[in-house]
């Protein structure tokens, strides 16, 4: 009783005036809320900085500078025998096409820019991508009847010209550049006004193949996207059935003993293993021991399967656990076998959770680079489209994150822009996959 009297406030208090202790407690709560808001705001600021830098750096990659040139396909140079025999035409290598482009472009410069600052047709080389010769040769081999005619071509501008149009290359920055000089930029200015040089949307960046170091303007993500796709197919086909089967057994059938405890602990540990470890494992087991080919999406998929399995097992087990025991009991009570209760009742109810876990696991695998470095998927690799589904799994290919890493390493700053553009594409894929996961969860989730 004495305690109680000691605790009673000495002065009369009102509910409207806060006592110092209440004030202190309220202040602490407000402070805590402010910390929380500050934390959220910091996160948002980082996100905004990240997104704006990705967008501002990468959007340029989706546009490219093109030069529209009518080119005279000189029969004297392309088909000396004049028989239009495709084998004869194929004998002219891409180097034989360079003079045609040089002459055509020189004529345009002559026509539009006076006085012409270029001394000889060869000087126009700095304006046009090195890929133009291959474009011309492919066209001529596909349409040998056009030899002797003048055909309008839409050629890629060189990476320096493209950079100038996009503002990355300036007159100051090329002062000591050997690949282009100020006269070329003057020509670009004039030709741009005349509509010969145009900046347009570049579909080839999304669908194209990787290019060599000397022509960043030609490089695209398409082939490495296919590489990622084939890898994801392997991951899905292997990790979903294995992961779900393992979880169902562990959750519904396995006895609780030391062995299953050990397995559970190891699965949780496996989920935390750094991905590079799986890469070196893949190199040792799949390539060196099993003799699977280097750089193949199949091997990449197998390695990423190992990485994704624990994620899928953990989320599947959580989804199975979330199905109330009453469902199982009711099924068993009506005479269903254990397996029937699992496959007819528990598994369908757990499916949204399983799929969500799988998609998130796949998204994680899609963005993974480290294990791919070790199995040879980085380099100048994604340059051939796979010829068929089997070739898609077995032929050397890269993957989206590995392609981005590769571009970021290359010398020409134009590749840097493409690396950022690649990040935008990769992020779009990841966002789409996460949205699908959310929709699945929203639409099919049941509450009890």
């Amino acid at each position: 009783m004495t305690d109680a009297t000691a605790n009673t406030p000495k002065h009369g208090t009102s509910l409207y005036t806060e006592s110092p202790r209440v004030k202190k407690r309220n202040a602490a709560e407000r402070r805590f809320q402010i910390y929380g808001i500050a934390a959220v705001a910091t996160g948002l600021v980082f996100l905004i900085v990240l997104l704006t830098s990705i967008l501002s750096n990468g959007v340029g990659a989706f546009q490219q500078t093109f030069v529209n040139v009518p080119i005279y396909l000189d029969a004297a140079k392309l088909d000396k025998k004049g028989e239009r025999n495709i084998e004869d035409i194929k004998k002219v290598s891409t180097f034989g096409y360079q003079p045609l482009i040089d002459d055509a472009l020189f004529a345009i410069v002559e026509e539009n820019v006076s006085p012409n600052p270029l001394a000889k047709p060869k000087d126009t080389k700095a304006l046009i991508s090195a890929s133009a010769v291959a474009q011309l040769r492919d066209y001529v081999i596909a349409h040998p009847e056009k030899i002797g005619e003048t055909v309008d071509f839409r050629l890629l501008g060189s990476s320096r010209v493209d950079g100038y149009i996009k503002g990355r290359v300036t007159r100051e920055s090329i002062a000591r550049d050997k690949n282009i000089n100020a006269e070329h930029l003057d020509i670009v200015d004039v030709l741009r006004e005349k509509g010969v040089v145009k900046r347009e949307f570049n579909m080839a960046f999304i669908t194209g193949a990787d290019a060599s170091e000397s022509r960043p303007e030609q490089a695209g993500m398409g082939v490495s996207m296919l590489g990622s796709l084939f890898m994801m197919i392997v991951v899905l086909v292997l990790s979903l059935p294995i992961g779900v089967a393992a979880s169902i057994y562990l959750e519904e059938f396995a006895p609780q003993n030391k062995w299953t405890d050990l397995i559970e602990v190891n699965i949780s540990n496996l989920a935390a293993v750094p991905s590079i470890v799986f890469g070196i494992l893949g190199l040792a087991v799949f390539i060196q021991f099993a003799g699977l080919p280097q750089s193949a999406p199949l091997v990449g998929g197998l390695v990423l399967t190992l990485m994704t399995l624990p994620t899928i097992i953990i989320s599947t087990r959580a989804a199975l656990k979330a199905v109330p025991p009453s469902i199982r009991d009711a099924a068993l009570g009506l005479g269903a076998s254990k397996m029937q209760s699992v496959f007819h009742h528990v598994l369908p109810l757990a499916m949204p959770g399983i799929l969500t876990g799988t998609i998130i696991g796949l998204a994680q695998a899609l963005g993974e680079t480290a294990p791919l470095l070790l199995i040879g998927m980085v380099g100048y690799i994604a340059s051939n489209y796979p010829t068929g589904p089997l070739a898609g799994f077995m032929d050397p290919n890269s993957a989206m994150p590995a392609q981005i890493y590769e571009w970021a390493k290359r010398a020409d700053p134009a590749y840097y822009e493409r690396a950022w553009g690649g990040i935008i594409i990769l992020l779009l894929f990841l966002i789409t996959m996460n949205i699908i996961a959310i929709i699945l969860r929203r639409r099919f989730e049941r509450r009890w």
Partner: protein
Amino acid sequence: MSFVKLTASTLAIAAVSATAAVARDNVQVAGSSTVLPYASIVAEAFGENFDFPTPVVESGGSSAGLKRFCEGVGENTIDVANASRKIKDKEIAACAEAGVTDIIEVRIGYDGIVFASQINGPEFTAFEPADWYNALAAEKPVDGAMVANTAATWADANANLPAVEIAAFIPGTKHGTREVFEEKVLLQGCEDTGALAAILEINGGDEKAAEATCMAVRTDGKSVDIDGDYTETLARIDSNTNGVGVFGLAFYENNTDKLKVATMSGVAPSTETIAAGDYPVSRPLYFYIKKAHIGVIPGLKEYAEFFISDEIAGPDGPLSAYGLVSDPELSATQELVANEQTM
């Protein structure tokens, strides 16, 4: 049950497709990251001009590439190793042990190694090999004893250089470039300063040990090994005003807006000065072919011949335009490849 069946059948499919893939139809190349740009340019043009698929070119460094090259003969080993240095006797022995005996050595041209710093940074415009030795050596001979290098600024190494802290970014030991840097810059500097003679006096004339001492780089943080590519060196220099980095000539020529290059022994690096032999720090670039794979892997010999053809590797070719110094003895190399002449 269906899960078990599905898993079993996918594994079976994987196994079947693995055996089906034994017939590889594209050339596989790996090795030096210095040679990678050139190899990728050649591979691309090769794919455009021939009916063979475009070769696959991986990087990873000369040593890593040669190690993979020497793993054995067979379709799951690489056909060509790029190297920015000559193959070592040790590596030839390792190759022979794994059954890789007939190797064709192809020199593609020369590459310059340049010393560059931030374009708006301190005035690093002229270096001598001796400056680099004085700045980066681990230990220097002083009055008959080896003393740890105490140079803190470039001015300590050479009074004509800016008095800013030494921050050198040099290629890591897995790069072929490192060896050239050690031999043509550090060892040369060691000789020029007279340190080599002094070290020989201290250790009693053991030349090998003395040279190793000359080429040992200090480990107190003034010199940083870059194991990645030149882009990493560029990023380090971008963030450190006083940084000086070691680059390939081609990389520098693509980034002249960010880097300024210094002369070495009074000669500015360019394809002309390297071809003339005036610029001291240059090295030949090579690739190595497994002769056993010629005729087995379609397009391998054609790729090699195309690589060193006049149109590609000649003075007016695309490789030269990218920064390779073309080999004056190219026709001899062409003959060597045509005859499949092994080492």
